[in-house]
Amino acid sequence: MTCRDAAELIELYLVDELTEEQKKALEAHLEQCPACTAELRRAQALAMDLAALNEGVEAPPELMLDVLAKIEDQTPKPSPKRRLSRGWKIGLGAAAAALGLFLISGALFQLISLGESRDFASEQWNGARPEAGYDGGYSSYKTESYGAIAGAGKDSMKAADLVAGEALADSAGRQSIAPGIAPVPQPQPEADGEYGLKIIRTARAELESDRFDEDLAALQALTAEHGGFITSREIYGEALKEGASGYGRSLSLRVRVPEGALDAFLEGALGVGVARSSSIYEEDVTSQYFDADRRLKGYQAQYDRVLEFMQKAESVEDLIAVESELTRLNMQIEALAGKIKYLDSQVGFSTVDLNLREVRLAQPVNTSFGQKLRDALDEGLDAFAQGWRNGLLGFMEALPALVGWLVFLGLLGWLALGIRRRIRRKKQRNTAEK
């Protein structure tokens, strides 16, 4: 048995798919092959590590709270299904129209541009920006949990337009969290004096850069400088190369910075590369916060009362009942404390999404008309040259086959001619004989 065979058998052994014979053969091989034995050990160690991976992982308390809040939101509506399907219809209609437009414009674009466009990204920004699929997915995804952000996300953003200070007052509708559970009557939120306004601020910025690596480092340094941290960093695409085509790399960076440093951080980030757009969204969660805090206090008071009662309990049944009530209250208290902690962290630290696109030449949008003309001409010439190059390449590619066919057809023709001549000669001979 080779080690290759053994590797296959080891995997099969691990999914318990070996016949007795195969098992014996594998064991025989393992006895004399330390490498494969080590591989098996590694596989077994991996299995153990995997089994231990989720030990102690628990769902955070806000999970069930949010689910319950949504369940409550859904139930009272008389016919959410019909409404939804109408929305779907409109959505589908719009999607179909958009697709049609996209196909037509795509065809036109194909017709107009001979070769390839050089700076695809910056072109997009000069013109009207189409709703980007990737952004759209993100915001619609978020619609459910954060209505305010999604609502703002749908507004099309103009280049370098700073939408600041626009609080979107959707969140007020989400204040009732699982009233089904709440035993404490809920007081109406009064003025915000007790806590101050609780506002979650998020921001995003689109940047372009012709020095991708330097600007990436600059953004990271800027984050550290403002006391923030990076929660995710993704780079996709390939680096631009001199003379080669391609769209360059894209960075999407998610950063959390202290709320107070958000404006300064954003200003700094917009100075890195060339800013294409930026925006700040604000979501007022004061009422949510207030609600959670009030209910937490209510539960705590109740907990203390039940605890008091426990001292007086006489029968075992009483004790059991009190115990289970305490457990339930404790669960609620922990859940609410978790929710408050979560809101605090969201309020205290702003999330900033930064997108950095690598381009050949990053320049501000408002270039002069003359410059644009020159750029257009440059691009046209480039495309023209590229078209010729492509044509030539295509021709060269087709050449061997072309030559082959010519030779083949030539041979065929030559044969046909030869046969015709022979037939003619035969006829002539026949007539001569006659």
């Binding site: 691990l14 590590d49 231990a52 989720n54 102690g56 993704e234 780079i235 996709y236």
Partner: protein, 197 residues
């Protein structure tokens, strides 16, 4: 206070949110854990677990008693995650950076229950490696090897037959070992990702 499961199920299916919360008291952790390993980040895991729980709630009426409730909930949760991953894959091309585990950090650095588990370097490394497996194989490994379902249960939860499950496990584990030994090449080659952005 503590009701039998069938009774809780009946009440929850009738729309009782409180009964549902109790019914899922234990299960929600498993669902969240599954989502965490499937999605890679805490934030996405929360969203997916929430979506899964909602779907479970809405479909309780369709649950048949002859199936295992735990497998059934896993099935819904796995589907939610796989759908989301497919949407995500359509949106972004998976990048080699991510594959090699560069540029991937667990989403939240705030201390949390699973943060403690992730503190161990090995666990974090495994988490990353798992996150870079193809979703189908990742799902098989998470259900069978991490969550400890039997082969039959895992196959049922993923809606595939036993052989398909085993072959996914088989390939996934091998990839995982390759990734953990710091050699992502077999994976990159296998999926033709080595020279695309």
């Amino acid at each position: 206070m503590i009701l039998a499961q069938p009774e809780l199920l009946r009440r929850a299916a009738a729309g009782d949110g409180k009964a549902f919360a109790e019914l899922m008291q234990e299960r929600q952790h498993a669902i969240y854990a599954l989502a965490l390993r499937m999605m890679g980040s805490r934030e996405d895991a929360l969203d997916m677990a929430q979506e899964a729980l909602l779907r479970i709630f809405q479909n309780l009426g369709a649950f048949r008693a002859e199936a295992s409730f735990s497998t059934w909930t896993y099935r819904i949760a796995a589907n939610v995650c796989l759908d989301a991953l497919r949407r995500r894959a359509r949106r972004k091309e998976s990048s080699l950076e991510l594959l090699r585990g560069e540029g991937f950090e667990p989403s939240d650095s705030a201390p949390s229950p699973e943060g403690a588990a992730l503190e161990h370097e090995r666990a974090e490394e495994m988490h990353r490696a798992l996150a870079s497996l193809p979703p189908d194989q990742r799902a098989a490994i998470v259900l069978r090897d991490v969550q400890g379902l039997s082969y039959e249960e895992a196959a049922e939860a993923l809606g595939v037959n036993l052989n398909t499950l085993k072959s996914r496990l088989f390939r996934g584990r091998r990839l995982l070992r390759g990734l953990l030994s710091g050699d992502p090449e077999p994976f990159a080659q296998k999926h033709g990702l080595s020279n695309k952005g």
